[in-house]
């Protein structure tokens, strides 16, 4: 094999290894950051980092879990960067409105309006939580991660995760009751 053939081989090997995990990683990036530009930055940064560690990746039994942990650590290490990062590449049409209206859902207009109102209220309530509480409740209640999986991802003791989960739910319930979302 000549050296000029190495990059495509490496690229193919990389894609083969990470592509099955992209959906889950993209969702995780969204849950961690809460906004598209930051989620895309985090997702992109993870892939760049993973490409540089392709040899390690090839030896790992569960690359999906490993990639998730790397993403979480990247987020924690560079939280300031990803929380406040405001630069992103301009694509045509990107300046048009972006938000929950563009998200997948059923097409019933009446049902959708109620759903959108409730989701907007939830989104506002989530923004009042600390990152620590918001992330735990979203991973557990929205993404369906088990406590053990959150422990493996974050390294937090299960007791701490349970406590954060409880506090986050209580706070969300209080905010949503005060806002009239829950009658």
């Amino acid at each position: 094999m000549t050296s000029k053939h190495r990059p495509p081989d490496r690229q193919l090997a990389f894609e083969r290894m990470v592509r099955p995990h992209l959906d889950r990683l993209y969702r995780l990036a969204w849950r961690l950051t809460g906004r598209r530009p930051e989620a895309e930055d985090l997702f992109q940064e993870l892939l760049i980092k993973a490409y540089g560690k392709l040899d390690d990746l090839a030896r790992i039994d569960e690359p999906g879990s490993w990639l998730s942990r790397v993403m979480y650590n990247l987020f924690v290490d560079e939280r300031r960067r990803f929380a406040r990062r405001r630069l992103h590449t301009v694509h045509d049409g990107e300046l048009a409105g972006e938000g929950i209206e563009g998200m997948p859902g059923n097409d019933n207009p009446v049902g959708n309006n109620e759903r959108l109102d409730a989701i907007r209220a939830l989104e506002a309530a989530l923004s009042e939580l600390s990152d620590e509480h918001r992330i735990v409740v979203l991973l557990h209640d929205s993404e369906g991660y088990k406590l053990k999986e959150i422990h493996e991802l974050t390294g937090l003791p299960v007791g701490t995760i349970k406590s954060r989960l409880h506090r986050a739910r209580t706070r969300l319930r209080d905010i949503l009751t005060q806002s009239g979302t829950f009658p």
Binding site: P7, R10, Q11, F14, E15, V18, R19, L22, D23, Y26, R27, W30, R31, R36, E40, D41, F43, Q44, E45, L47, I48, K49, A50, Y51, G52, E78, R80, R81, R84, R85, R86, L87, H88, T89, V90, E94, L95, I100, G102, M103, P104, G105, R115, A118, I119, L122, E123, V137, L138, D141, S142, G144, R169, L172, R173, L176, T177, F182
Partner: protein, 178 residues
């Protein structure tokens, strides 16, 4: 009775959280992200080798740098100084100003600092005159939307300074408040 209501609220909250959506990414986005990762990942690996082999001085010497900034929206007040765009704001009325930084090459770990005059605030950073954060630029155009709020009628000049290694560029934007 109170417990029943709490249970109902818990169930409603659980249902809402379970239904809380994440936008789906397209296959095209994944393809693009993978292509960027291999391109940028290779570049970083190459840079690592260059740094190892020749030292940082040589690496700094061959690094390409070009970055310029401009206002994406059409300036709505005529420039009093050539090359300095301006916008007009209404007191207490937030306005998003889009700055675009065009970079000839991808830049990692750049520091972006926004300096605000008295009376102009950046949404989310009340009372702060200087806000700084680390960022990366992709090759091409990079957008910086700044949501500004005029809290006094003085106006002034907003500075957006981009620093990378020992280089920097400052973008100036004149604000008038009506």
């Amino acid at each position: 009775m109170q417990t029943e209501e709490l249970d109902k609220e818990d169930q409603a909250l659980q249902a809402l959280l379970k239904d809380y959506p994440v936008p789906e990414a397209s296959e095209a986005f994944y393809d693009q992200a993978l292509a960027r990762a291999t391109h940028e990942g290779s570049r970083r690996l190459r840079n690592r080798w260059i740094m190892t082999g020749f030292g940082s001085a040589v690496a700094a010497g061959i690094a390409l740098w070009f970055v310029g900034g401009f206002l994406m929206n059409t300036p709505d007040i005529p420039p009093t100084e050539p090359g300095i765009p301006g916008v007009t704001m209404t007191l207490e009325d937030p306005r998003t100003v889009n700055l675009v930084f065009a970079s000839a090459t991808a830049l990692d770990s750049a520091i972006l600092t926004v300096t605000l005059p008295d009376g102009i605030e950046l949404a989310g950073f009340p009372g702060q005159r200087e806000i700084s954060w680390q960022t990366s630029l992709n090759e091409g155009k990079n957008l910086l939307p700044l949501e500004l709020i005029a809290v006094s009628p003085i106006g002034g000049e907003v500075l957006a300074r981009l620093e990378h290694k020992d280089r920097n560029r400052t973008f100036r934007l004149r604000i008038e408040v009506t």
